[in-house]
Symmetry: C2
Subunit: 279 residues, 2 copies
């Protein structure tokens, strides 16, 4: 990696299979408001979670190629599926630093657990990759890690089924095993899952600590950027001027615009479309 | 259209956004067992139902281009989303006959209704297109057509949530309006929905007739093929030899293989992968 020649005024790139990564963007914006950001949401090919490793890797490479064309200085892969299934094999192929959500989420969980029993929930691809468990075991081989795919959580969140009885029933089906084995820490291994925090807490009980891997990766990115030569020169100004935000999507921008405005709590109009299959 | 020069031994092409179209293939195989078939399932980009008209049209054109390269003699678009959102604008651009699922489903419903009140359920894109209602009104402008998107039905079916309490609760949420307005006929405007037939009948009652648009389009294709010069010469042999079946998908074949074997009730191994973004 060659950070010394990097243009520190260049934007930070964030990508996700869809809109979920906006929660990570929102977190990091609070920490680094003076940085410029480029967000790419692959809404034209979302969701990644049920696809094969091969195609997730192909999509992830295209997402990174697009951000590199935008001359970003640092990349955050906000998608758990891409972070777990594609990144470990491909991130060494790039000069630019790319951070995923697995390592920060796993680290936080290992730090948090007291009884050594950690649960991980995510999409089929994230769970099949075993990435969270592998990383946790690299830190401490004695940990007991229980991983479970919850494929209905994403569509339930996207349809606004947040506090409904049906969602509780489905969440109870999924999470009963996690209760039975007595985990004390549960990693929300998908950017959509924090929206079901209330349902999950009701089922698991207050004693189980929930880890939001998106939040953890925003914190980790903040640490890496502020401790390297990557930080924008405006960061040293008081008050620092606000950075630019650019949004790109792989389907028409209209639908993304309304969802993104809701996620970000501000009107978002400057969204451009990208034909991502060309990258 | 120029059917007189068509090679009658050429295969019939069927495509869908994923696996749902296999139900249509199964129906038509029983009617035309001596024909050759090529099935394409766009599992690498499924589902289509929540995407924009623009991208659904782009995907549909690529699906048709692939089948044309296979030199098919007739195309069945088994996907309701593609049939309603893309086909009406593009099918005139092709020499080959392309049949969608909307027209056959709409016709069957109009024939069936006695009180003139018809319900249509489907994906967001299918309902937004208003294709079923437009076609029904072209037949009889006095019909009252009530259209409703049920976006959670596809993931529920794909996760095997067929007879669960959560599925009943969600279906009741969706279908209550249809009960209130007193429809006597309900079009299942998505190839996944017939798998929820029991749940839907329990909620709507036995007096509401369900129309399976996939089944209707298989019947309609049978009529068109047998009444034109398209029928395979083997059809006149008794007993007629069985035709060939070829399967193509846009992600790795392994997962499709197990689902397809279940749908078709026979072991399916001859599945090839296609990079559909190149078409």
């Amino acid at each position: 990696m060659n950070t010394t020649t990097t243009d520190r005024t260049a934007p930070i790139g964030i990508f996700d299979s869809g809109v979920g990564g906006l929660t990570v963007l929102k977190e990091i914006l609070e920490l680094l408001p003076f940085e410029n950001f480029v967000y790419f949401g692959d809404v034209g090919r979302t969701p990644y979670g049920g696809r094969s490793k091969e195609i997730i890797t192909q999509f992830t490479k295209q997402d990174i190629a697009f951000l590199n064309e935008q001359k970003v200085k640092f990349i955050i892969c906000a998608c758990n599926t891409a972070s777990s299934t594609a990144l470990p094999d491909i991130c060494k192929d790039y000069d630019i630093e790319i951070i995923g959500v697995i390592e920060p989420g796993a680290k936080a969980a290992v730090k948090q657990t007291q009884n050594g029993k950690i649960g991980v929930i995510g999409t089929n691809a994230t769970i099949n990759s075993n990435a969270y468990a592998s990383y946790m075991h690299a830190i401490d081989p004695k940990l007991k890690v229980f991983s479970l795919a919850c494929p209905l959580f994403v569509p339930l969140v996207e349809e606004g089924y947040i506090d409904k009885e049906a969602t509780y029933l489905i969440a109870r089906d999924y999470l009963q095993t996690m209760k039975d084995v007595g985990i004390d820490t549960l990693v929300l291994g998908c950017t959509h899952y924090p929206l079901l925090r209330n349902v999950i807490t009701d089922i698991m009980g207050d004693s189980v600590r929930l880890i939001d891997s998106g939040e953890e990766s925003a914190n980790e990115s903040f640490r890496r950027i502020t401790t390297t030569e990557l930080i924008h020169p405006n960061g040293s100004q008081v008050p620092s001027p606000e950075g630019d935000l650019k949004y790109f999507v792989s389907d028409v921008p209209e639908k993304f615009s309304s969802v993104a405005s809701r996620f970000m709590g501000r009107e978002i109009n400057n969204i451009a479309r990208v034909d991502i299959s060309k990258y």
